[in-house]
Assembly symmetry: C2
Homo-oligomer: 288 residues x 2
Amino acid sequence: MRRVRSIKAMQRLAKLWQRKELQVGFVPTMGYLHAGHLSLLQRARQLVGPRGKVVVSIYVNPSQFGPREDFSTYPRSLSRDLKLCRAEGADVVFTPNDQTMYPRNKTEPFSTYVVEEKLSRSMEGVSRPTHFRGVTTIVAKLLNIVQPSVAVFGAKDYQQAAIVKRMARDLNFPVKIVVAPIRRESDGLAMSSRNKYLVGNLRTQGLALWKAIRKVKAAVRSSSRSISAAALKRQVNALVEGQPAARLDYVEFFHPQTLEPVGKVVPGTHMALAVFIGKTRLIDNARL
Amino acid sequence: MRRVRSIKAMQRLAKLWQRKELQVGFVPTMGYLHAGHLSLLQRARQLVGPRGKVVVSIYVNPSQFGPREDFSTYPRSLSRDLKLCRAEGADVVFTPNDQTMYPRNKTEPFSTYVVEEKLSRSMEGVSRPTHFRGVTTIVAKLLNIVQPSVAVFGAKDYQQAAIVKRMARDLNFPVKIVVAPIRRESDGLAMSSRNKYLVGNLRTQGLALWKAIRKVKAAVRSSSRSISAAALKRQVNALVEGQPAARLDYVEFFHPQTLEPVGKVVPGTHMALAVFIGKTRLIDNARL
């Protein structure tokens, strides 16, 4: 496994692989890898085959954090991450730094962003106004640097995956975007680097998201008719607020492709929610 | 020479060329080609050599026109353009249509834009608020479709060229952006597809831009000290408004890289101006 720090070196490698007609699978991450990330690496390997190349990027992207969010305290564990990538059979780990990715020199500072304007407006886009613009910008950059044939994203960030797909289609990136299923702890908590923050009894309270999803799913599946989204939202809110340290940020019911909110929930409707457990913001989602 | 209409076919061709390690030179245009465009094709050929491939795109990009601008009446002459490209030795002419480039289907309409937020604010960005976002978006799309090693832009759109360079750097497009000099008619009028609108005595009045540039250049070059930008602006305004059908939209003096306006003009300062001649808006620029 090779570690690449510079954009130029990564692009040289990408060009070399293109000449050799090798398939390249790409997994962009912010590091602090868990089994969810590793399942994305496995999926990438599966997609490009044993002859193909798997690239993982590890970069905590400042432009997707809001000014009051946890950029500086976001968990980092590079040496452990590198070992995990090697064990999973990654070919290259790309680890750029901030000055490389967002140059700040006086005469020519970084000034270009990629913005998705429709799918980004709801849910996470309301709670984190500049988040998706940071995501689409860094993903566009990484796609141009790694030039993969396929890029794999996790379904936990469902809205993000939909936006990245839309961006790749709209800007004609020559890449296939694949979305891999959520990985969960044995009790149902969706795997996330931020679960590290859930110490003491906060860990149990973090289960509220999964409990809400299961409850709604059971209601929708057992009902012979549609259920009002407003009624389900009230139930989810009551369930979440029943936990002493939990606060519901949003819960939404929407069409899985357009992300348009629906008033009537039926099997196949998608559900997503964000919950603060103490200061830690968790998200989860599922097809009902 | 081959004409390609579909994005998929163009991307297949690009991939094939990459495997063969061929250099690809790209000239994006809105058609109605004149000698200025042809000089860009010649430059592209020079850059990629006889074995390389030269691609010209011909596409009147709706997203870079404002709602009251001349999108629907912008001059078009496809069959003539194709002949000119063939005569200049282009390998491929890419001619997509609007539904291909900006899909409008109900469930997944086009919704992603590329925005440059610093260089775009002045001059053309003030007069045409959504213009550069349209330019950066279409150029990003075309770079992903054609995947050239080098793309050639004309210096007449000086601010545009600076913004495209910045975008390519910021988003790490694996391409070199080359800016080729302005081509002028024998009397000095900068070549432009919109010159077609200059009928009767408007054609002579269109010379006001070049006359203003020459006058300012002479003043700056003959002066032993810097000259106030405000004084030069007044002179340019008087010269332009002396023509009965001419109205100065803006004139600016600025640093050639940062595009920051300067108060004191010296040799090396860049000058740009936009002038309405009747309903036709012309632009021109020069290094002083």
